[in-house]
């Protein structure tokens, strides 16, 4: 499998702050990689290293087979970036900024530019100072999406967009992927990640804590199981069992348990004598997956 982006053991310090602590991240050709993590976990720092704006202190970073620090300009002919905080020049119009960023970037397709302006419903004659947050984001998105780049890097691109525009964004990203382009998408919007991403990497405290397809992640991790029994459940004893991450009691005879998959049989043995009345097991939702990784005391 061809790798478009390869990060191995990346470290970055800001003074005494260890912003990236041995990050690994791989993005394959033609996929959408979701890049997730709590605020301040180092997502934007990693993306800025990939864009050649920050220098890696340690580790390997290879984008499209090149070094983003040394070959920044050559690389930027093939990749575009939409920052999380889009700051535009207040006195320029949206249309001027789209053209400016597009022309200075990997090259602007005029027809596609007009199509994107239309799909994102953006008035190009307004000065940037009059745009709302969502419209500023649209300017940067139109400039990026109208380009002929091979790789797209989005840092929380839809945080200010309305649901309609967000769905336009998702449609356009799907078209890009269908066309063989590669996308790295940092996002907090779980529905967006679920519908767009083939694989996700979850980062915390500057290092990847989980990486793989959503399907794998769900199955590799805990099961959520709701049980109802005839006899009262020994809640305290259950939560002490090895392999049980969390127990949430609902009355005396009903509880929701989070169980490691490989300990399932052992837990079931404990539950069987209590007279199981009902049992429901499902893989964790994306929310639960994230909550577990985002919470400071998860592991």
């Amino acid at each position: 499998m061809e790798m478009k982006l390869r990060i191995e053991g990346l470290h970055k310090w800001f003074g005494t702050t260890h912003a990236l602590a041995g990050l690994d991240l791989n993005v394959r050709a033609g996929e959408v990689m979701g890049f997730l993590g709590p605020n301040g976990s180092g997502k934007s720092t990693a993306i800025r290293v990939v864009m050649g704006l920050l220098r890696a202190d340690q580790g390997t970073v290879e984008v499209l087979g090149q070094d983003p620090w040394r070959d920044a300009v050559a690389l930027h002919q093939q990749m575009v970036y939409v920052p999380g905080d889009v700051n535009l020049w207040p006195s320029l119009t949206g249309g001027e900024i789209v053209d400016l960023l597009g022309t200075l970037g990997p090259g602007l397709d005029r027809g596609r530019r007009d199509e994107m302006l239309e799909r994102f419903d953006l008035d190009p004659t307004k000065r940037a100072r009059t745009y709302s947050k969502g419209n500023r984001q649209k300017v940067a998105l139109v400039a990026a999406l109208a380009s002929s780049a091979e790789m797209f890097i989005f840092d929380e691109p839809t945080s200010g967009l309305d649901p309609l525009m967000e769905s336009v964004f998702q449609d356009v990203v799907r078209e890009l992927v269908a066309d063989g382009r590669t996308v790295l998408l940092s996002s907090h919007i779980l529905a967006e990640v679920e519908s767009l991403c083939d694989r996700v990497t979850i980062i915390r405290d500057g290092a990847a804590v989980e990486s793989g397809s959503l399907e794998d992640l769900r199955h590799l991790t805990h099961l959520t199981m709701s049980v109802r029994t005839r006899d009262p459940l020994p809640i305290d004893a259950l939560s002490e069992l090895s392999g049980v991450a969390a127990v949430e009691a609902e009355g005396t005879q009903q509880a929701t348990l989070s169980i490691e998959r490989e300990r399932l049989a052992a837990v079931m043995e404990q539950l069987a004598p209590l007279g199981l009345v009902d049992i429901e097991s499902r893989p964790p939702t994306l929310e639960e997956l994230f909550m577990r990784h985002y919470a400071t005391d998860a592991s």
Binding site: R48, M51, V73, L92, P124
Partner: protein
């Protein structure tokens, strides 16, 4: 009373928001007003005592100089009653002080009307129990109090000095009414434009127009001064031929503009203007989409305003240049000072010009430093990130902006020198050696380049170090102005870049210093570009 509901609360809000700004304005203007009688009376009476004549004789002598000087009249106002202390004070304060009073009022009204409305704060207020005119009423009270305070300062300062109180009061009231007239005008502009920059801009343009109209009127003794609120204040002529009619005209202007503002306000929604903002170009021109094109587009406004500024200052200096010989003839301390600066025999004019050009160099240095620090502002605002993430190298992004700073240095010096030469020519009646001031101004340029270079090197090393460029500027200005007074060693004086170019036209400029300064500029600029390649951009 429904329409004014909530006004007391809003009044307290305005006073809370402006608790630092407004007192600073009043204190600053108050200082200008208070210092005028003190300085003039002291200088005049000292000279009168040494020469054993009445102070009024000195005033009359100086008045004769001003009368024939169209440039000074254009800058300051009509040469009325200059043989009295009161008249002289008003002339010293001049149209410029009145324009600054007007500016205080324009900015005060603009920030509490359109700027607040644009930011969405007015919406928040108006959706609570606040009447339609409550904000305007509260603001009117603040404006009245601020202008009354300035009027009171004038009366106290002049009164303590001993000039006629009645005449002083007439002027003070006229000045306060003028301030309120500009406040009312800005209130009207705030209804017209949707964006605060446009309405503030319209207010400032009104001041500029008022200033220019009275300048034209005063020079030709014409009626143009009487259509300008600033000219109307000066037409009161309290220490000469006192006239009350201008006060009535100012009151009429206030009433009429308030009426017009109210009429316009009733015809628009909260947040909207009468004039819709103009849409801009939907696409970028081919010139914009290059690093140099972008840099020019972003910095041209600053360049233009600085050019206007140094041009204006050049005109001011040019207007007094020819008067130097007359002043110096009777003034021994001035002669000594100029001789220290290298004036020999009748070279006073050249010695004075040398100093003026170096001072203009300070101003141009401020301009080029601001331009040199623009990349830092662009980086802090998150704009650099967007451009550097495109296929623009760091060298061309920073280099393009520095090219502008390097080229603007000679342009600003040229503008200043030409303005000075032309203005001097207007006063004298012929242009004296046009090449000499311009050529001399150009010898200051390498000192500016050196400052650009040092600041660039600091910025290249770290964006946090870049503001130290202002320290270089401070050292250049302060060591030059006070170095000899403080008996600083030569080594310290040599740190002042413009000290090395303070030679022409009074004496020859050593070529070696020009070469050294230019080399410092080039080498440190290159160093800065190199260091910038090596650091994080964020």
């Amino acid at each position: 009373m429904q329409r004014f509901a909530g006004a007391p609360t809003i009044l307290r809000l305005i006073l809370r928001l402006d608790r630092i700004k407004l007192p600073l304005w009043i204190l600053g203007l108050g200082f200008m007003i208070v210092i005028t009688p003190i300085s003039i009376r002291d200088v005049t009476e000292t000279e009168a005592t040494t020469r054993g004549v009445a102070p009024e004789v000195i005033l009359a002598e100086q008045a004769a100089l001003v009368d024939t000087n169209a440039a000074m009249v254009a800058l300051s106002g009509p040469a009325d009653a200059l043989d009295t202390f009161g008249g002289r004070y008003l002339f010293e304060l001049g149209a410029m002080t009145l324009a600054i009073v007007a500016l205080m009022n324009v900015l005060l009204v603009a920030r509490h009307t359109r700027a607040s409305e644009e930011a969405g704060r007015t919406e928040l207020l108006r959706s609570s129990a606040v009447g339609t005119w409550a904000i305007e009423l509260a603001l009117g009270i603040v404006v009245t109090v601020a202008n009354a305070a300035l009027a009171l300062i004038v009366i106290l300062a002049f009164g303590l000095d001993g000039v006629d109180l009645g005449a002083t009061s007439a002027f003070a009231v006229a000045m306060a009414l003028m301030g309120m007239a500009f406040a009312a005008l800005t209130l009207m502009w705030a209804q017209v434009f949707e964006h605060s920059r446009s309405s503030t801009g319209a207010g400032i343009a009104t001041i500029a127009a008022a200033y220019a109209l009275r300048a034209a009127g005063d020079v030709q003794d014409g009626w143009l001064s009487l259509v300008s609120p600033i000219g109307l204040v000066q037409a009161v002529n309290p220490f000469g031929d006192l006239s009350i009619a201008p006060l009535l005209v100012l009151v009429a202007v206030i009433v009429a503009t308030l009426g017009a503002g109210a009429w316009l306000a009733a015809r628009r929604d909260v947040g909207a203007g009468i004039v819709a903002p103009r849409p801009g170009p939907p696409a970028a021109s081919a010139r914009l989409v290059t690093p140099l094109g972008l840099a020019w587009r972003l910095h041209r406004g600053i360049v233009l305003w600085w050019a206007v500024g140094v041009g204006f200052l050049g005109m001011v200096y040019g207007s007094v240049l020819s008067a130097v010989d007359d002043f110096v003839q009777d003034n021994e301390s001035m002669q000594e000072m100029l001789e220290q600066m290298g004036a020999i025999g009748d070279q006073f004019r050249d010695a004075f010009l040398t100093m003026l050009l170096t001072i203009l160099g300070f101003v141009a240095a401020g301009a080029v430093l601001q331009l040199t620090l623009r990349p830092r502002a662009e980086e802090m605002a998150g704009h650099a990130e967007m451009v550097l993430a495109a296929r623009v190298s760091r060298r061309s992004w920073l280099g393009a902006q520095l090219v502008i700073a390097w080229l603007i240095a000679p342009v600003l010096m040229l503008v200043a020198a030409v303005a000075l030469t032309v203005s001097d020519g207007l006063v004298v009646g012929e242009i004296v050696e046009p090449g000499s001031a311009i050529g001399a101004a150009m010898t200051r340029v390498p000192a500016l380049w050196a400052m650009i270079g040092i600041t660039t090197a600091l910025y290249g090393a770290s964006k946090r170090l870049a503001p130290l460029g202002w320290v270089v500027f401070g050292v250049t200005v302060l060591f030059f102005l006070f170095g000899e007074l403080l008996r600083l060693p030569d080594l310290a004086l040599n740190l002042s870049t413009l000290y090395h170019t303070n030679h022409q036209p009074v004496e020859a400029q050593p070529f070696l210093s020009l070469l050294t300064l230019t080399t410092i500029g080039l080498v440190s600029t290159a160093l800065g570009l190199g260091l910038f390649q090596r650091r994080d951009v964020a």
